[in-house]
């Protein structure tokens, strides 16, 4: 078992593996919406950055689902 760190996901405290990438967190939290928007510490992350962006202790991650109704 890898060491865990505490981060905030969608406003709630969560323990996740040390150095997890956003791509891994998307799978871990089952957020595989094809139009998912990911906010990391207040910044929008492009999809091509999911695999290379790693979280650190106390980071804040928001998984935002699009609203496409009208």
């Amino acid at each position: 078992m890898n060491a865990a760190i505490r981060i905030t996901v969608n406003g709630l405290p969560e323990n996740v593996p040390l150095s997890a990438t956003l791509a891994e967190l998307i799978i871990l939290f089952q957020e595989m919406d094809r139009d998912l928007i990911v906010e990391h510490n207040g910044r929008f992350v492009f999809p091509q950055g999911y695999a290379s962006t790693r979280v650190a202790p106390n980071d804040r991650v928001e998984f935002i689902h699009p609203n496409f109704g009208g």
């Binding site: 094809r34 492009f46 935002i64 699009p66 496409f68 009208g70």
Partner: protein
């Protein structure tokens, strides 16, 4: 020049220093394509016409159904089965006879979007699906027309403004994907449509009067569960396959 009737009709907004008579004349010269006449489009058509926007192209492919009436306040029980553009044009025409209206009962698609947009200065997105927005986005870039995006589902909504060549575009945020089946329509509440479309109306006014849009490069989100507004900065995606392609800015 405003007529005496117009000066009175719009007096409460002409009193705003940011609008004034000059801004009002700009609204009167404004041409807006309202894409979709459902929950968002109902608010758009009413507020844009009421404020004196001179020309509205009201587009929708649907007819009024009973399921629409919990939120689409442009249409009434007497309008069931009527094409939405026809129903909308009637209400808006009664509200403000100064507003020139073109009602278009059609599906906005790749083949007609740029032509529909040709004579408009702003795209007011009131569609109800992602593919229509991808089409509007490409037309926006091709014609250099700002695209005021809004979307709702459940208790939530979001809005942003895409300025061709300068801010992020819709596809920077939601990259185009291989065609998949459209999801079932989400649950929707009238006031959420009202909030989001009202914000889009304010952005549209800003664009028409020559003020800087406030939501270019930002995604505004509202939750009716927490009663919170939040914004997220959205930069242009250097890897965007749509606005990153120089050919998207020219007419094919």
């Amino acid at each position: 020049m405003l007529t005496e009737e117009e000066a009175r009709r719009y007096s409460r907004q002409i009193a705003l220093p940011e609008i004034g008579v000059e801004g009002q004349l700009r609204l009167a010269a404004g041409r807006v394509m309202v894409a979709g006449l459902g929950g968002l489009g109902s608010i758009a058509a009413y507020y844009l016409a009421a404020a004196g926007v001179g020309y509205l192209k009201l587009i929708d492919r649907d007819r009024v159904t009973l399921e629409n009436l919990n939120r689409q306040i442009l249409h009434t029980t007497f309008d069931l089965e009527r094409p939405k553009p026809e129903s909308a044009a009637e209400k808006v025409g009664r509200l403000n006879p100064h507003c020139r209206i073109e009602a278009v009962h059609t599906t906005i698609e790749e083949g007609n979007a740029a032509a529909l947009l040709a004579d408009c200065a702003v795209i007011f997105d009131a569609t109800d699906n992602r593919e229509a927005r991808q089409v509007l986005n490409r037309a926006s870039l091709q014609r250099h027309v700002p695209f005021v995006f809004g979307g709702i589902s459940g208790w939530e909504g979001m809005a942003s403004t895409f300025i061709p060549g300068s801010s992020a575009c819709f596809s920077c945020l939601f990259p185009p994907q291989a065609e998949t089946t459209e999801p079932a329509p989400p649950p929707v509440l009238g006031p959420i449509a009202g909030i989001v479309a009202s914000i889009q109306c304010l952005e549209t006014f800003r664009l028409l009067i020559g003020a800087l849009p406030q939501l270019a490069g930002r995604l505004l989100r509202f939750s009716g569960l927490t009663m919170e507004f939040r914004t997220l900065q959205i930069d242009r995606n250097p890897g965007c396959p749509v606005c990153g392609d120089p050919q998207c800015y020219s007419t094919p």
